[in-house]
Symmetry: C2
Amino acid sequence: MTKTIAFVLYPGLTVLDVVGPLQVVTGLSQLDPRYRVVVLAEGTAPLPSDTPLGLVASHTFDEIPEPDVLIVPGGMEGTMAALADDTFLERIRRAAVGADLVASVCTGSLLLGAAGLLEGRRATGHWSMRHLLERFGAVPVAERWVEDGRIITAAGVAAGIDMALALVERLTGEETARMVQLWIEYDPQPPLGGIDWDGVDIPSYRPIVDGLLATTLADHPELLGRLTA
Amino acid sequence: MTKTIAFVLYPGLTVLDVVGPLQVVTGLSQLDPRYRVVVLAEGTAPLPSDTPLGLVASHTFDEIPEPDVLIVPGGMEGTMAALADDTFLERIRRAAVGADLVASVCTGSLLLGAAGLLEGRRATGHWSMRHLLERFGAVPVAERWVEDGRIITAAGVAAGIDMALALVERLTGEETARMVQLWIEYDPQPPLGGIDWDGVDIPSYRPIVDGLLATTLADHPELLGRLTA
């Protein structure tokens, strides 16, 4: 039987959060016809991303009510707006109910948290907002990706590629994961090397994050209070 | 004066070829207002990608005739069709004329080659089709990305992220490149490690590539002959 891997779109999301894992699992679906990939949104009109590129879903939420794998991307302004959107959170909650696996990338884990899916779970997300996971009952962990039962959360943006390869390995094994990796030539050589975390003063970015929350959640004082108290 | 970095869209391209570098240079534009980013296509109607995600350009080619930096993504079937599309190649040629930098990702280098931009230049592309660059007068090089004068070509798909960070460093310096890298959390940890190239028998994939060319270029015998002779 075909397994459906579904991505969730919403306005203003970080496009690499979607496209990194999407390219990986589309590779899986090309190698293994037991998997199909869909991209879900409220409708199929173009949505803005956090870049000048517009995005179009392949299906509506109503068309694919019960995906087997659900992947929720993050972002900054757009994700904060989505956090305050109860209709959207209900979409995630419903799509997640019967899913074998529920994954997030970047601040997408905050959306899982707001949907009530991270209670008591170890989880990660973008380094700048990872601490906020606690506000949803999760245990923030500074890892590239975190698997806790059927929930898999990735760190910021580009971490979605690593997480998705781990997901492919989990679904179908090492051989397929390696073939997908080869085909998308994921053999990273960051020109300046990896990130030197010892040189990143994470708390110093807190005012930027608090400012973002205050601006984007001004009309949602209860949620803003929950996140900044 | 503002510098415009333009991506080129066409039907069926590999979406991560666009979105990796797009996320990187959009980060640049957020940190440094001297840069703006646009996504160009023939029109602004949704275009299919090589995944279920549809893509929408921000501008038409006619609206941005002279970008300062041009970035051309690759793909498989869609890129082969674009290789045979003289109108599209003329778009690339014209947009490239006055550009300070012209970059490609993956088989996008074949498009640069077909547009006559790689004569005598060192260049790279997706490992499976890198040898075809010779047919356009280029010198194929097995590197993550290759800079030859104003032309920068990246290896397959995910290599566009590394190339784009090098591009940001070239445009604005190391500090900005590091900040973009931090923000998109590009600190790769491929779950199965990097690609073991010694274990990849590249010539064994030649029949797949020749089959793709034969199928997609059946109506273009001259180009097919040039690429497979």
